[in-house]
């Protein structure tokens, strides 16, 4: 188990280094950082002085190391539009993003779990079909379309819930529903197929042969096994959710990191973009690490290996 955790930690570190590397190349692709920082009428001399100050006259590899060192310190330079460090701008927005992502996650997994069990237990085929179809249909609607439909119904027509901003729990309802239901079909399909796969195992037949009832077998035997893949995929998808927050935040004017990034793009504020992508990626890496370790705890086959 300890070895497993160490291995995953190493992988996580490697991934972060990879993300930084990708970020480095992205910034260099964006053009000469010095040129971006200076007003267009700056003299050649001024440019050169700034280049030296930023270490841009060094060989590329040294620049890379410099960049990496700064990144690890969380220093991605100053925002080009506001004179604060890019990182602090991003970090200000992170709690809002996390709030949205985690509540969406809870909505998605919770619904999948309840509906999945319902589908297994019900004797009516139409219930099963209905759930599947609704989930599938939901998955085919992009986040922004679904968000707008919700706004149209609940804010404009019914006037029950606010359509933008953050603050009260009521503000959270529509964004979390929008984003959380997006992966529902995926979770459901996965949950169902792993339950079906477990069903084929002899231990299920054995449990019946011992005299257990259907519900007991489902809850005591199949569920612990079938939850494992759900945990993994849900973990990976939490990352997708983090990506999905970008769009959702824009739809609902939610003051999160994603919306900041989008705004920075239109303002060509590159340090903020890079810092934002970096922060969200690192968050994702950490979440995945936690999920993997959780998986190990749940599965004795991994824990004891």
């Amino acid at each position: 188990m300890a070895g497993f955790v160490i291995k995953r930690l190493l992988q996580a570190v490697l991934t972060v280094i990879g993300v930084i590397t990708a970020a480095f190349f992205l910034t260099r692709l964006a053009g000469d950082p010095a040129a971006l920082l200076l007003p267009p009428e700056a003299t050649l001399e001024e440019t050169q002085r700034l280049r030296a100050a930023l270490g841009l006259d060094q060989p590329l590899f040294v620049q890379y190391l410099l960049f990496m060192g700064n990144a690890l310190k969380g220093d991605f330079g100053m925002s080009l539009r506001e004179s604060v460090p890019a990182m602090s701008l991003v970090l200000d927005r992170v709690p809002a993003t996390l709030e949205l992502a985690l509540s969406s996650f809870a909505v998605g997994v919770g619904l999948a779990f309840i509906l999945g069990i319902l589908m297994r237990m019900t004797r009516h085929n139409w219930v099963r079909d209905l759930i599947t179809w609704i989930a599938l249909a939901r998955q085919a609607i992009p986040v922004f379309s679904f968000g707008l439909v919700l706004i149209l119904i609940f804010s404009i027509w019914l006037k029950w819930l606010p359509s933008y901003g953050r603050g009260t729990p009521a503000h959270l309802v529509l964004p979390a529903l929008t984003l959380g239901t997006y992966e529902l079909a995926l979770y459901l399909r996965l949950f169902n197929s792993s339950l079906a796969a477990e069903q084929r195992n002899d231990y299920v037949r054995t449990a019946f042969a011992k005299g257990q009832g259907r519900i007991q077998v489902l809850l005591q035997h199949m569920l612990p096994n079938a939850l494992l893949p759900l945990v993994t995929v849900a973990g990976i998808n939490l990352g997708m959710l983090l990506g999905g927050t970008v769009v959702t935040e824009t739809v609902f004017s939610w003051p999160g990191a994603g919306r900041l990034i989008v705004q920075s793009v239109s303002q060509r504020d590159y340090p903020v973009i890079v810092a934002g992508v970096f922060v969200i990626s690192v968050m994702f890496v950490i979440i995945n690490l936690i999920v993997d370790v959780l998986y190990g705890v749940l599965d004795p086959r991994v824990r004891l290996a």
Binding site: G3, I6, Y203, A209, G211, H221
Partner: protein, 687 residues
């Protein structure tokens, strides 16, 4: 009067103690296929199981034997349904009980042991909990402590060492044999009246099988439960069953007390099965093989389902038009054959023919090789690095100093159980895995130093047939293309050659136009053999090539291999876990244990005077017809040790009945103890 009728008449009147534990009457089970067709998988099956009795239910795959018993538990899968017939447990009809009502019977009055101990236990639950569950379900008023005590008692009853500690472990900490013991403990938890054992040892090695069957017999004797033993292994039922029912294509074709059935089979199918079984005691030049294969249940022949394969039907109209009923003959026997009276004559004639061959012609002269060595392995070794706990790595010595010398036209048998390294040996010989040391010489020149194009040329002389006939053919390709592939790779394709190869293995050119999913296991194996012969190899490695086949098909393939060897002068390396098959086809045998060859001698010598205790244990563990009980003292004890931490000295010492202190200190070398060429690696080898 039919058997069913006799039973039906007898049941109501007899006293309660004469009521059979289980009585199945005219049971029919159907499946509804996805395209809505209804197919009968079990047809009109009737039998009784009496108090304390072991009934062996024998049949090849698809005969309906497992389905019948799942029906008894009320656990038929979806799409399957009992159409008619009755199942009575101690006189109580259970076919009309609901799933819920059956819950009280399952695990209490009847319990079952499934084939694969790896999947029978839930991997994420502690073993003790799983056994406890079986008790708690039927004794809701028992306290936790009481249940736990009972579980530990059960675990020690089935021979699990340290039951207290084992109680809270997970299944993956148990070996296959130990898991099956847990399953037995679970099945016996409520001392059921009837125990169903569905191929309980098929997934286990033969030495472990012997131990598990022993335990099963013990616990059963203690509680007096009746048992139905479902198996394809005739040897096993002959040792452990009192009475047998043979199933073919969904029907029972013969019922008889075990000894009588083997002594004088009355159904041609039973007689054919027994004749086609390779036996340890004798070696015959060709095994009898039942021609053809089991019919698809959707396309059963009208009349007797066995007619197309029957040795005595001779196309008689009665066989082709009318399905024979199961009629009782004599006190305890019943058979479903119009001409069962003729079976005995056929058996005797066949037996006589065998003896004639054995006495008159001292084995037909084989197309002998010129005695040159074709394949030589010298000091092969292979080490795998296995990731262990944490970051540590441990070494697994899969092959240690394996050497042999194989002459043209001969067959070398490589025998061993799982973990012996025999499959690794095959891969190393074929250069599918790189050896860690040593060299292989093919026709005198070294193989390991070859690279690229040169290797691709030379390895054509050394070909292989694998175990699994289902994954050895690309499902998308036509058979013609499958066999043509090696020719195309070599750039020497011709359609005639492909057809010739098909003919070699007993298939028609027309078969080449179909795809592999249309063929049965035996036919696929023929195709794989044809493909391996395409480039005229010198040596064929047969890696468990007949192990996945049913008995009657296995005999066909063995005979084919022998014929090909004779016709084409092939040299074989025959890798198998099954000593009785090896005996029939091999000239020399190398027995492997934990990566080493521990005995190496001619087949005759190995079977008549096995020198190594492990070989003797293996031989003793093989169930065989009409031999019971076997030499218990010779059996290997316990489980295979962890191959990453092999015992000091002799690797076999933890299981050896003869081990002494010396064995723990020195590793015995492979040498000839009497000045013969009979090699063995034991300090106390018997020569």
């Amino acid at each position: 009067m039919t058997d069913a009728a006799i039973a039906a008449e007898a049941t109501p009147t007899t006293a309660l103690d004469r009521v059979p534990v289980l009585s199945v009457h005219n049971l029919c089970i159907e499946v509804k296929t996805p395209d809505g067709e209804r197919v009968e998988l079990v047809r009109d099956v009737s039998f009784d199981v009496n108090e304390h009795e072991v009934l062996g239910l024998v049949g090849e795959s698809g005969s309906g034997k497992s389905l019948t018993m799942l029906a008894v538990l009320g656990l038929l899968g979806s799409g399957l349904r009992i159409v008619s017939g009755s199942i009575r447990l101690r006189g109580q009809e259970i076919t009309n009980l609901s799933f819920h009502e059956m819950q009280k019977i399952r695990g209490k009055a009847v319990s079952i042991i499934f084939q694969d101990p790896l999947t029978t236990l839930n991997p994420v639950l502690r073993v003790g909990k799983q056994v406890a569950e079986a008790i708690r379900l039927h004794n809701p008023d028992k306290g936790e402590a009481e249940i736990k005590a009972r579980v530990i008692e059960l675990l020690s009853l089935v021979g699990i060492p340290n039951p207290e500690r084992r109680y809270s472990q997970f299944p993956n900490e148990f070996s296959g044999g130990m898991r099956q013991r847990v399953v037995i403990a679970m099945a016996m938890a409520n001392e059921p009246d009837l125990l169903i054992a569905d191929e309980p040892t098929t997934a286990l090695d033969v030495t472990i099988q012997a131990q598990v069957m022993e335990v099963l017999a013990e616990v059963r004797a203690r509680t007096g439960a009746a048992m139905v033993l479902i198996t394809h292994d005739l040897g096993l039922v002959s040792e452990y069953a009192d009475r047998l029912a043979v199933m073919y294509s969904g029907r029972i074709v013969e019922q008889a007390p075990s000894a009588e059935l083997f002594a004088s089979p009355r159904h041609p199918y039973t007689a054919g099965l027994i004749a086609s079984l390779p036996q340890l005691e004798r070696k015959v030049e060709t095994l009898y093989s039942i021609p053809g294969f089991v019919p698809d249940p959707r396309k059963r022949p009208t009349g007797c389902a066995f007619a197309p394969r029957c040795a005595i039907a001779n196309g008689r109209p009665l066989c082709l038009s009318q399905s024979p009923d199961l009629e009782s003959i004599g006190a305890n026997r019943a058979v479903a054959c119009h001409y069962s009276a003729e079976t005995a004559a056929w058996s005797t004639a066949y037996q006589a023919k065998l003896e004639n061959v054995a006495t008159e012609t001292p084995l037909p002269v084989r197309k002998q090789g010129d005695g040159t060595t074709v394949l030589r392995a010298s000091n092969l070794s292979k080490v795998f690095t296995v990731r262990g706990k944490g970051l540590q790595r441990s070494k697994l010595y899969a092959l240690r100093n394996v050497s042999f010398d194989l002459k043209a036209g001969k067959t070398l048998g490589i025998v061993g159980e799982s973990g012996s390294g025999k499959s690794t040996l095959a891969r190393v010989l074929l250069r599918l895995a790189e050896a860690g040391g040593g060299e292989v010489y093919l026709n005198g020149s070294p193989l390991f130093s070859l690279r690229g194009r040169e290797l691709r040329q030379r390895r054509r002389d050394l070909q292989v047939v694998f175990q699994d006939p289902y994954s050895s053919l690309d499902p998308r390709m036509k058979i013609h293309d499958v066999i043509a592939e090696p020719l195309r790779i070599a750039g020497s394709y011709s359609a005639e050659r492909v057809n010739q190869l098909l003919e070699h293995v007993g298939l028609t050119a027309a078969a080449g136009q179909r795809r592999s999913p249309e063929f049965s296991g035996g036919q696929r194996q023929r195709i794989a053999i044809a493909r391996s012969l395409a480039l005229n190899p010198d040596v064929l490695i047969l890696d468990e090539a007949v192990s996945a086949l049913d008995v009657s098909i296995q005999a066909q393939i063995i005979n084919l291999l022998k014929k090909l060897q004779q016709d084409l002068g092939l040299t074989y390396v025959f890798i198998s876990h099954d000593l009785s098959v090896v005996r029939h086809i091999c000239d020399e045998i190398a027995v492997m244990y934990l990566g080493r060859v521990i005995e190496y001698a001619s087949t005759e010598a190995v079977f008549s005077t096995p020198a190594h205790p492990y070989t003797r244990g293996l031989l003793a563990a093989i169930p065989r017809i009409g031999m019971w009980p076997h030499g218990k003292g010779l059996l290997a004890r316990g489980d295979l040790p962890n191959p990453m931490k092999p015992p000091s000295g002799c690797a076999f010492r933890t299981r050896c009945p003869m081990a002494t202190a010396l064995c723990a200190e020195n590793e015995p070398v492979l040498s000839d103890h009497a000045e013969t060429s009979h090699l063995s690696a034991c300090h106390f080898a018997l020569a």
